[in-house]
Symmetry: C2
Subunit: 150 residues, 2 copies
Amino acid sequence: MTDQKTNTGADFSRTDPAALEDRIRSAALRPTRQRLALAELLFSNGNRHLTAEKLHSEVLHSGVKISLATIYNNLHQFTAAGLLREVVVDSSKSYFDTNVTPHHHFFHEDEGRLQDIESSELTVLGIPNLPAGTAISSIDVIVRLSKQSS
Amino acid sequence: MTDQKTNTGADFSRTDPAALEDRIRSAALRPTRQRLALAELLFSNGNRHLTAEKLHSEVLHSGVKISLATIYNNLHQFTAAGLLREVVVDSSKSYFDTNVTPHHHFFHEDEGRLQDIESSELTVLGIPNLPAGTAISSIDVIVRLSKQSS
DNA sequence: TTCCTTTTTAGAAACATTCTAATCTATTGA
DNA sequence: TCAATAGATTAGAATGTTTCTAAAAAGGAA
Ligand SMILES: [Mn+2]
Ligand SMILES: [Mn+2]
Ligand SMILES: [Zn+2]
Ligand SMILES: [Zn+2]
């Protein structure tokens, strides 16, 4: 299991504004006020797993007014640029993950919370031959956790 | 990988009406016209992976008129009774699986289609120690497949 | 600045799913 | 056989998440 602050590349835990701006520019996106506020929440606090609504409420609480449409636009643009990945664990809402390296998850069902399991720890053995004409896009392991029955 | 008709218990591929009725009764549910029509589609055609909408359109095409609310009611009742399990692979809709034994999946992303991988074939090694106070509810492995890049 | 493109936005729309509350049906046992 | 009752079905409204629309605002190149 990884530490909450571990990241593959540089440590963005205390990223200065200029670095965030570079990160956005390198994705061929303009560093708008809204995008900078989102990038700060997403990329300056270690690895995170967030829904659109959670990110929206965080950014509003931080004092920046952003519409929900902009949250979705940017989550998708960041995902397309490889700065985020989408994790499917719930059939009603999407989670976005700031850890874009291959890894797996614990999912705390009662809290709706994801927790990383590093690829170096967990191994999947015995994947059958792939159906003809297909290639692996990703391998997702979700270990669903419930509260221990007393 | 399992054959499409393989099932853990009896073979329900050509289940007679009386057996379907028993199956429903043993779940403490009444064998209504609607429930029997759904059970026939679900449990007399090998292992299946269906969305509510797909099941609805199949049952309508078979000539039985059932409301979508009833489809959902019954999918959830069958799931609660252990006759179905829900598989989360898409953040916008739910899939219901007639194979309730522990197993994993290929997911054909382009077609939105699930395919079983038997537990006897695929192994997950190295699950970290569980967070305190939690227990494993299930382990879901999804191997996402895209069309092979030519 | 000017011009062009990207971005943001409010609100409408779409979509899957659940809820409501009325009607209908299966079961039971008098 | 037939009430009585609990369970099941239904249409349509409501919900929650996500996407779309179209107009206004802002960024960036020159
Ligand atoms: Mn999406
Ligand atoms: Mn459900
Ligand atoms: Zn993660
Ligand atoms: Zn399956």
